[in-house]
């Protein structure tokens, strides 16, 4: 996928109300591979921390019998992180405020994530 196409995918998500930013993360090392600005935060921090949660969750998922994971969500008082697996160990990670449309965001993240590789 070209950089312009990645930009376009990220823009589809960050255009939603309440979305603070989006990052494509390499789950193995927690590095941000591609990012849009994450409002008020360092994208690299979001990437590293989200990757740590995703790794642990994937480990638990395997123990629970999941051959494939679709979506991992961390909900907190002042925000929600959604992460969905792309290809080749990439994860698409989105940070949203509490007022964001989570239902729509879940669909979009799940649809777009497989395109990142």
């Amino acid at each position: 996928m070209s950089l312009a196409a990645w930009d376009e995918r990220l823009a589809q998500v960050t255009a939603l109300a309440g979305v603070r930013g989006a990052v494509v993360v390499s789950a193995d090392d927690g590095l941000a591979v591609y990012e849009s600005a994450v409002d008020g935060l360092e994208s690299s921090d979001v990437a590293a921390l989200a990757a740590a949660v995703v790794q642990r969750a994937a480990e638990l998922g395997r123990a629970l019998g999941h051959a494939t994971l679709g979506l991992c969500t961390l909900a907190a008082e002042r925000g929600t992180i959604l992460a969905a697996p792309g290809r080749d160990g990439m994860w698409f990670v989105v940070l949203a405020d509490p007022g964001a449309e989570l239902g729509r965001l879940r669909l979009l993240v799940g649809d777009l994530a497989p395109e990142f590789s």
Binding site: L41, V53, H66, L74, G79, R106
Partner: protein, 239 residues
């Protein structure tokens, strides 16, 4: 292609004609001859259920699950028995597992709709931590299992492993929420081909709540909150 042994069709025909004793003789002889064939035990279960022998039927269907953990017929049978004794939570959980095994079976989907419609209001039916079918697992902050199972068969080893890993997820969730200034974490929701699992913080530990993919995410989270309340009470009562 594998041809099912002839006794299965014969036993089922006898059962449908009401020749229950003959059907049972055929089914039990077949199950003895093919002890690893889930369909044989499933047939025994159906005949026993027709006889009104619920314990015998339950044993047979559990034996079928030993042979084939996601056998839809056995899961449906166990759901039927649970429904009969008004254990709607187990009935729903068994049917969800059956639907996962046979997602296009319209009879199973109808049965699941019926059981959901017949189920008491959620607030009236808190999950039982001690019931393997409840799908609730409690772990301490350092990953020791406090109680519950994630598997209707009550697999202790799997529950211990899941408890250890869930504590790791909780630690990372807490750290991430703190360092990104997101406040206290409320849950981690994990969704995959095998179902949905919510991980919720509890005082001194973590709760896992699992359901099949047919349970919507929002409903799962609502039920998980209720399970946490039940777990708090259970921990207060446990030795």
């Amino acid at each position: 292609m594998h041809t099912p042994p002839a006794f299965l069709a014969l036993g089922e025909r006898l059962r449908q004609r009401g020749l229950i004793d003959a059907a049972l003789a055929v089914a039990e002889a077949g199950a003895a001859r093919f002890p690893m064939l889930a369909e044989a035990h499933d047939l025994v279960g159906r005949v026993r259920a027709d006889q009104g022998d619920e314990e015998g039927a339950r044993r047979a269907w559990l034996a079928a699950l030993e042979c084939h953990a996601s056998h839809a017929g056995a899961l449906k049978g166990l759901a039927f028995l649970a429904f009969r004794r008004r254990d709607h939570a187990e009935a729903e959980r068994r049917l969800e597992a059956a639907v996962q095994a046979a997602p296009r079976d319209p009879a199973l989907l109808r049965a699941l709709d019926r059981i959901r419609g017949a189920r008491p209001r959620p607030a009236d039916a808190p999950p039982s931590i001690d019931d393997p079918a409840s799908g609730v697992l409690l772990a301490s902050g350092d990953g020791l299992r406090l109680g519950g199972y994630l598997d209707a068969r009550g697999d202790e080893a799997a529950a211990e492993a899941a408890a250890a890993m869930a504590a790791g997820v909780a630690r990372e969730a807490e750290r991430t929420a703190r360092l990104l200034d997101l406040g206290a974490w409320r849950h981690v929701l994990l969704e995959g081909n095998a179902g949905r699992t919510a991980i919720l913080p509890m005082p001194g530990g973590v709760l896992l709540f699992s359901r099949g993919t047919s349970t919507p995410a929002g409903r799962l989270l609502t039920a998980a909150e209720r399970a946490r309340e039940a777990a708090r009470a259970w921990l207060g009562e446990s030795p």
